[in-house]
Amino acid sequence: MLEKGKISASQMGMMLFLAVVASGVMSIPGITGKYAHNDLWLSPIWAALMGTVTVWIAHRLHCMYPEKTSVQYSEEVVGKVAGKAIGFLFIFFYLHLSGFVVRSYAEFIVQNFLHKTPISVVIITMIFVCTWAVRAGIEVIGRTAQLFFPVFLIPVLFIPLLLNNMKLDYLFPMLEHGLVPSIKGALVPGGWLSEMFLLSFLLPYVRNQEKGKSSALYAVIGVTLLLTMINFFILFVLGKQIGDFLFPVMVAFRYISVAEFFENMESLVMAIWILGMFVKISIFYYVTVLGASQWFRMSDYRSLVLPIGFFVGLFSFWSFPNFNTGLYFDIYAFPFYGPLIQTVLPLFLLIIAALRKKGQSQNQNLTAAKHK
């Protein structure tokens, strides 16, 4: 096996949680709010369906091919050539996504905090740090996730500081235009939750296999809870303006002012959430490297870390020319692109694999019958 490290199921759950929510917590609520208006708190719950389905598919496939990642077993499922093609698709998808995530992170930082710093510096420093984590392997990423997971939740404690400025009235009228707006708003977080497919790269390295599925489902529940809570929070504070802001969560945290002393909290909140971004990017980066080295059938993945890091940097520059286009991709392309690669394609693999297994066992039965 390429990766000798092992992680625990709970570490994997935390990795998945951060991998989905680290970037999502910033940008999803604004997009959801634009479509679901005051029903936006409902959207993450619809989106959780997508996450659950993806987890189920990835786990079923894993049960059929334990100890193999999706890049490896796709060759077994659909044959060598088609399998290689699908494997390449996965690798390319995660490579592009790593670049995209790095760029979104950097755009956010430059737009809000470091106006004069060239974006390349923000991107390259992040990739450098992640390179280190990826070289160290899955165990280290797992432990970083474990370490940063509780820290990541600290900003939630700041929410009560705005209780004074929250108006429950904004919640009503509930479901004014039926369920459709909240489902529309669920498309983007649904795309994000399909990233749960990262599971298929992590499960082979989980020490306590039997808990793998449940901890992945806990991750889905955690993401849903956090997003719902954040959505309630910004709805009560910002009311009808949630759809106007690109980063409503930051605007809301910025509104905190307690006794003229607890002010300008958004910098602290962002500093904390960047830790999550680090874990997220490391996981995507790691999965790309691992997948690529398995695709090339290499004996060690470490030699691929730097070259792929270089590509991640390139893709981050190529992925979109300006923030607006990036958001456009997030809203109009990713809700279909993400689930297509991470949920629908694996579903096809699962169906074919299941049919094959059935065929095989029938064949075996036949041959066994002949021998008798």
């Binding site: 905090f113 470091l114 390259i124 280190w132 009235d169 009228p173 504070v237 009311g239 009808k240 300008n264």
Partner: protein, 395 residues
């Protein structure tokens, strides 16, 4: 080992992020800004800049609030077609980098408020530096005069205005509140009005004149009228924003005045729609203490206390009705946001009616239900300055 050292040094160099370092002594910290109408479709942007040297030099070893005799702020202004442009011209007049992060007050001149605030609000929301918790004010006359006043109690007028907002004497409207009003169902907004700064230049003027003089009423982003301070109190009751008040009432057939301080108040709007008839029940719950009893009545008697409660109830109702009359008949603008209450309760009917809200609003019938509970009499039971024999235990 060597590789590790190399990694660490690379990371140290890159992670420090030196491009955006800002030194406090390179910044011109803006404490308040005002936007006024200028000639040729231009605006005048004035900023109040904090003078750190004045604070440090004046206070010296004494430290803190004593401060120097001189002004702690200075005012600069510049013209331009919009705020962003005016800032770049303003920067040419200030040797330090303009910094908006501590600007807590924005003042708009009356003229520009009548023209519309939309263009100017955008900068404040879009630019990452200005705080969304900054308070908005509309100034009679021009806003820039206010920035140049030396207040006697606070460090700057910005600080005074922020304190006023915290006191809730009039409305307190932050940038986020204002946008919520604009985006609300009624598309009407209210912003507190402050006195023309020209009238407050001399210390003796500051001693006698009130700064908060009322509330500007805006339809969308354009100011169309105003409420007096007295009418503003009614608006605060209606909007459930009342938290400090002294209600003084004269009881029927009794000499003297009783004052009550409501400690806790809650206003609920309960809309009702039947056969196309729109009506609104304003439900007020308030509880408070007696703070002054100028009558001869012994308010420890429950039936006499009930009299006071009834009088307070009537007073609150009168205040709200007065404000509503102005809003419904004269200004025809729904700043209380009855529209939102109807939207919440009757979403389907609202969907049909929202185009004609301006016609519906003036005709809404108002009912009130006010519960006044006087919980405590203060520290003394009988009227304090009255001889024992003159105290009345009944009417």
């Amino acid at each position: 080992m060597k590789v590790k050292c190399l990694w660490i040094s690379i990371c140290c160099l890159l992670v420090a992020g030196c491009w955006d370092r800002t030194e406090v002594n390179d910044l011109a910290i803006i404490t308040a800004a005002s936007v006024d109408k200028a000639k040729n479709e231009e605006i005048t942007l004035s900023v109040q800049i904090f003078l750190p040297r004045a604070l440090g030099g004046g206070a010296g070893g004494a430290g803190g609030t004593g401060g120097g005799q001189g002004k702690l702020t200075t005012m600069r202004n510049s013209n331009g077609p919009n705020i962003a442009d005016a800032i770049s011209k303003l920067q040419a007049k200030i040797p330090r980098q303009i910094f908006w992060g501590h600007c807590k007050v924005y003042i708009f001149g009356e003229e520009i408020a009548k023209q519309g605030l939309a263009d100017h609000i955008d900068f404040l929301v879009r630019h990452p530096e200005p705080r969304n918790r900054a308070y908005l004010y509309i100034s009679k006359g021009e806003g820039l005069d206010t920035l140049d006043i030396t207040p006697s109690l606070e460090r700057s007028t910005a600080e005074s205005l922020r304190e006023y907002a915290d006191l809730h004497i009039g409305m307190a409207v932050t940038l986020v509140d204002f946008r919520n009003m604009l985006r609300g169902e009624s598309e009407a907004a209210a912003i507190p009005i402050i006195e023309n700064g020209k009238k407050l230049q001399k210390p003796e003027d500051i001693q006698v004149k009130a700064v908060m003089v009322g509330t500007a009423i805006l339809k969308r982003d354009k100011m169309i009228g105003s409420l007096t301070l007295h009418e503003t109190r009614g608006l605060l009751w209606l909007r459930n924003e009342m938290n400090k008040a002294a209600i003084s009432v004269q009881l029927n057939g009794v000499e003297g005045i009783v004052s009550v301080n409501p400690i806790r108040t809650k206003t609920k709007l309960i809309p009702h729609l039947e056969n196309g008839k729109w009506s609104m029940l304003v439900h007020v719950d308030t509880e408070g203490d007696v703070v002054e009893n100028g009558t001869r009545l012994n308010l420890m008697k429950p039936e006499l206390l009930a009299l006071v409660q009834n009088a307070v109830r009537a007073d609150i109702e009168a205040r709200m009705r007065m404000t509503l009359k102005v809003l419904q008949q004269e200004l025809q603008t729904d700043v209380v946001n009855f529209a939102a209450a109807f939207h919440r309760e009757y979403p389907k009917e609202w969907e049909k009616a929202k185009g004609q809200w301006e016609k519906i609003f003036p005709q809404i019938e108002i009912h009130t239900q006010i519960n006044v509970n006087i919980r405590r009499p203060g520290l003394i039971s009988v009227p304090a300055g009255v001889p024992q024999e003159e105290i009345k235990n009944d009417e």
